[in-house]
Amino acid sequence: MLEDHLPLWEVFVRGRRGLDHKHIGSLHASDASQAMKSARDTYTRRQEGISIWVVKADDIHASQFENNASFFDPAEDKVYRHPTFYEVPEELKL
């Protein structure tokens, strides 16, 4: 019932000095305009931010935990992918 009329929205807030929006929580609202107002009242009442994004939770496609082994484990033994492994040519050194 609640989910039918008031779907879930995820709220992202950018702080005064922040460069990116960070996930700060979620809320129920009937549409984007109501979600935006509720986000303002729920998550920025203590000056937490100066910009808000709201995204319908249904529109977020998340990776599935049961896929973690095939998704993320293969990266474990590939430390050479970090740029620290490249030798910087002499000419480029300051």
Binding site: L2, L6, L27, H28, A29, S30, S33, Q34, K37, S38, R40, D41, T42, R45
Partner: protein, 250 residues
């Protein structure tokens, strides 16, 4: 002391205090959690505004009364708020319709007060206009949602408007206080306030598929201390602690 100046500021403070007190009654009882937080937020904006205005009223009066003295140890006959502010909260349709009528009133009032010749009132208006702009957007949104919503929500908010409509003339009544304040450019012109208010309300109700109620009779008196029965109950709850334990602080 200029008695009319004192009463003008006191009335602004009383409207903020009594409406704010009514709004706090929803705390823990709103239709859903997000609304509960939003309503409490807006209520606190009103209480904060009441503190500034009542402190200033006490200053003008010059008899050493603080914001707390004015809020908690005056009797109903000494309060000069609009009757509309003190009416019981009713259902959520009634509450949001009243918020919208008063938010729109305050929006035009504070817009005018920004250029008041009274620098303190002008400073308070600068702060209040930002809060009020948000309040008005929020309550207008609810009027549109409920009016243009389901058969039940439409019916409820239409009835709510009809129940409160006869209290709206009081918002624009003019007595010697208003005449003097407008003449000294402390307060904006009441007629201009009324025409702007009416234009906004009519447009929103139309958009919300609601009918502007017919005015059958008109009740006022709040600004002279003559209140509805509901006011006594409101004050006894709001003032209980200071009446029972005078001077108590925490």
């Amino acid at each position: 002391m200029n008695k009319n100046h004192y009463r003008y500021v006191l009335r602004l403070g009383d409207n903020a205090l009594i409406l704010g007190q009514r709004m706090t009654e929803w705390c823990g009882h709103s239709p859903f959690l997000e609304e509960d937080i939003a309503m409490a937020n807006c209520a606190l904006d009103h209480i904060g505004r009441a503190r500034l205005l009542l402190s200033y009223a006490g200053e003008i009066e010059g008899e050493g009364r603080s914001e707390d003295d004015l809020a908690f140890i005056r009797s109903d006959r000494e309060f000069e708020n609009f009757l509309l502010c003190e009416l019981p909260i009713g259902d959520y349709a009634f509450t949001m319709a009243r918020q919208y009528l008063l938010d729109t009133y305050h929006y035009h009032l504070f817009t005018g007060l920004i250029s008041s010749t009274d620098v303190t009132l002008s400073a308070i208006a600068h702060k209040a206009i930002k809060e009020t702009t948000y309040h008005m957007n929020r309550s207008r949104d609810w009027v549109l949602r409920l009016g243009d919503g389901t058969e039940e929500s439409h019916g409820r908010i239409q009835i709510a408007l009809e129940r409160m409509w006869n209290y709206t003339d009081e918002l624009f009544e003019v007595d010697s206080v208003d005449v003097e304040m407008a003449a000294e450019a402390i307060a904006p012109d009441p007629e201009l306030l009324q025409s702007r208010w009416q234009a906004d309300i009519t447009a929103t109700l139309k958009k919300a598929t609601l009918v502007v109620p017919e005015k059958k009779w008109s009740l006022s008196g709040g600004r002279d201390g003559l209140h509805t029965e509901a006011m006594g109950y409101l004050l006894s709850e709001m003032q209980y602690l200071q009446r029972a334990y005078p001077g108590l602080s925490w």
